[in-house]
Symmetry: C2
DNA sequence: AAGTGATTTGAAAACGTTTTCAAGTGGTGC
DNA sequence: GCACCACTTGAAAACGTTTTCAAATCACTT
């Protein structure tokens, strides 16, 4: 691969001049500029961005750590971040933590070693002190979905409790009184927050969350399927179920239909996230919209402002509030029928 | 951020020694090694991978160009590549071409400038000459889903025609004789290949593909919805439909149900890709499995072998053959009933 | 005691850029 | 015809590493 030296030689100028036509084209006289351009073309020259970043101390890259690469949820996050960063001429390097502290640590280390100008991190397994230490470092970081009170303005997050509350309230307002919860067994905060929201809504109606109405499983389709079976076994009189996420809700719905239950006629289901899937399920899933794409975009704007003054500070609050999306998986029921 | 010099100073050794404890720990005497390790710890030292890559001429990164970042299909591709590369100690930089030549070109340029050791490229918009030129370059490249006869062993691809043939044959074998095709309007080869497969199957049964039974639309849920409506308007007597991908099939199914059609009782549907969605739709979608994750893994093994001899050459054929996955969206029909 | 060979070390060159600085060029105003 | 200035240019330093090479050290052998 040809270097700046080759180009300089071929064009009969110094390497400084070549560098200048790359970075400040106007500062070199047209005839030489043309010669350099021609030489670059002829040699298929590509500036070595490593060398460039090394001396200029900026790579124009921002690193993104997601939970996993192949999930519709994180796909939306990546897309949101990508969109605003690409427009700004930055590039994104994506890395996955796979929900394990060690992998998350390794991902962050990789990105830092690669000298990303900033990091956007979704890491739930790492201890808070480690995250705090990261925030304190010299590389700007914004955290997704992990509120560190100490660094509130650097955290973009969703009010999970409110989301679960909304979902449960919706079920309650439709007359349901026996409502199960299909949760995640991944020991992360979201889970606890959502359970709290579920319980709060129940409490408002004078109901108490029964432990046997709550089952945790791996937060995917299969987990939803199994959890649904289990919760139904334990509490056959449930009229509705709130699921930790849409994939679990989908699995639950499948399980129900397979067992001859009609959804929502016999059992109502509410999901969480509003991934594409929700619109494709049948019945179309009533769910809580998780604006993860917009959250990614906000995080991107935050780091953009850190990186260059030409990007305005963002005034928008970092806390996002979820919204209930009503579709067809919930049915009105008479509370007295229970 | 501290450098190797700082570490050397703090440990009272030369930078060569520090470099050695990083790269060949056994070659430095234990007492100094400990001192260096301690200094690194104390200073939170992280080797600058840019500098390292610059001198050693290898970045341990492979670049991956996908069609778009937020699609379940490409998510599987990324995951497959990621899995084998991470195990081998390599890192992956992902970039999206968004199905536009200019974006694809830019993505490749970025990856090349960043001095990735190898590239895995899924690009359908770029002209073949450009791809061929890329393959001829000094950086090892493997192409996904784009067969360049000139570089056959560098191309990992699916036999699209066979897939469509399988799907249509399945419908035919279940008695269907009036079969519509919901295609993609993105002018890429896959589309043409799949149409050919569809026509070939039809021809084997002495049927001719009627132009009015074929509608093209944007290959997503909404496109599938609209195309289904259109094809039904044109040819109300269809008993089955083959869709370009699962998302379109999902949209089509939704459209059908909304209009009061029962699936598969009144109309059978077959998809393509077998993304997660297919299992969650109801009825569960009969579809053609696109082993894109495995294809990504194969591509990764190919580049691994290019990069280091310790990775074995891969003997496996580069051409993947799709497989029909029977689920519940196709119904047996009596051919004579038409 | 001196020589041998193996081990450990540091100095310096190299990787491919950008940037600073000073020198060179040519034009302008008097 | 000369001083001044603006513009353009090249040499060289710097970025943070790895690696080569030769020097230094050390333990043995004779």
């Amino acid at each position: 691969m040809s270097t700046i030296k080759d180009v300089a030689a071929q064009a009969g100028v110094s390497i400084s001049t070549v560098s200048r036509v790359i970075n400040h084209p106007d500062s070199v006289v047209p005839v030489k500029r043309q010669a350099v351009l021609a030489a670059m073309q002829a040699l298929d020259y590509r500036p070595n961005s490593l060398a460039r970043a090394l001396v200029s101390q900026r790579s124009d890259c921002v690193g993104l750590v997601v939970g996993e690469i192949d999930s519709p949820f994180f796909a939306q996050l990546m897309a949101g971040v990508h969109r605003v960063l690409l427009d700004a001429g930055k590039h994104v390097i994506v890395t996955a933590g796979y929900h394990q502290a060690e992998q998350e640590r390794e991902s962050i280390r990789f990105l830092l070693e690669r000298r990303c100008d900033a990091l956007i991190v979704h890491a739930k397994a790492l201890p808070e002190e480690e995250l705090a230490a990261l925030l304190k470092g010299s590389t700007p970081v914004v955290l997704i979905n992990h509120l560190l009170p100490e660094f509130e303005e650097r955290c973009v997050y969703l009010d999970n409790e409110e989301g679960a509350y909304l979902a449960t309230r919706h079920l309650l307002s439709r007359g349901h009184r026996r409502i199960g919860y299909i949760g995640s067994n991944r020991g992360i905060e979201d889970g606890a927050d959502r359970e709290r929201g579920y319980q709060r809504a129940l409490a408002e109606f004078g109901l108490e969350a029964d432990r046997k109405d709550q089952v945790r499983a791996f937060p995917d389709e299969a987990g939803g399927h199994d959890a649904m079976a289990e919760v139904l076994r334990r509490s056959p009189d449930l009229t509705a179920v709130f699921a930790y996420n849409d994939a679990m809700a989908g699995g639950a719905i499948n399980m129900l239909k397979d067992s001859g239950y009609a959804v929502p006629e016999q059992l109502s289901v509410v999901g969480f996230d509003d991934v594409i899937l929700a619109r494709l399920l049948s019945p179309r899933l009533t769910t809580v919209r998780y604006p993860i794409g917009e959250m990614g975009a906000l995080a991107a704007q935050l780091v953009l402002h850190d990186l260059e003054e030409r990007f305005p500070a963002v005034e928008q609050p970092r806390r996002f509030t979820p919204r209930l999306i009503e579709r067809h998986s919930v049915r009105q029921v008479s509370p007295d029928a229970n």
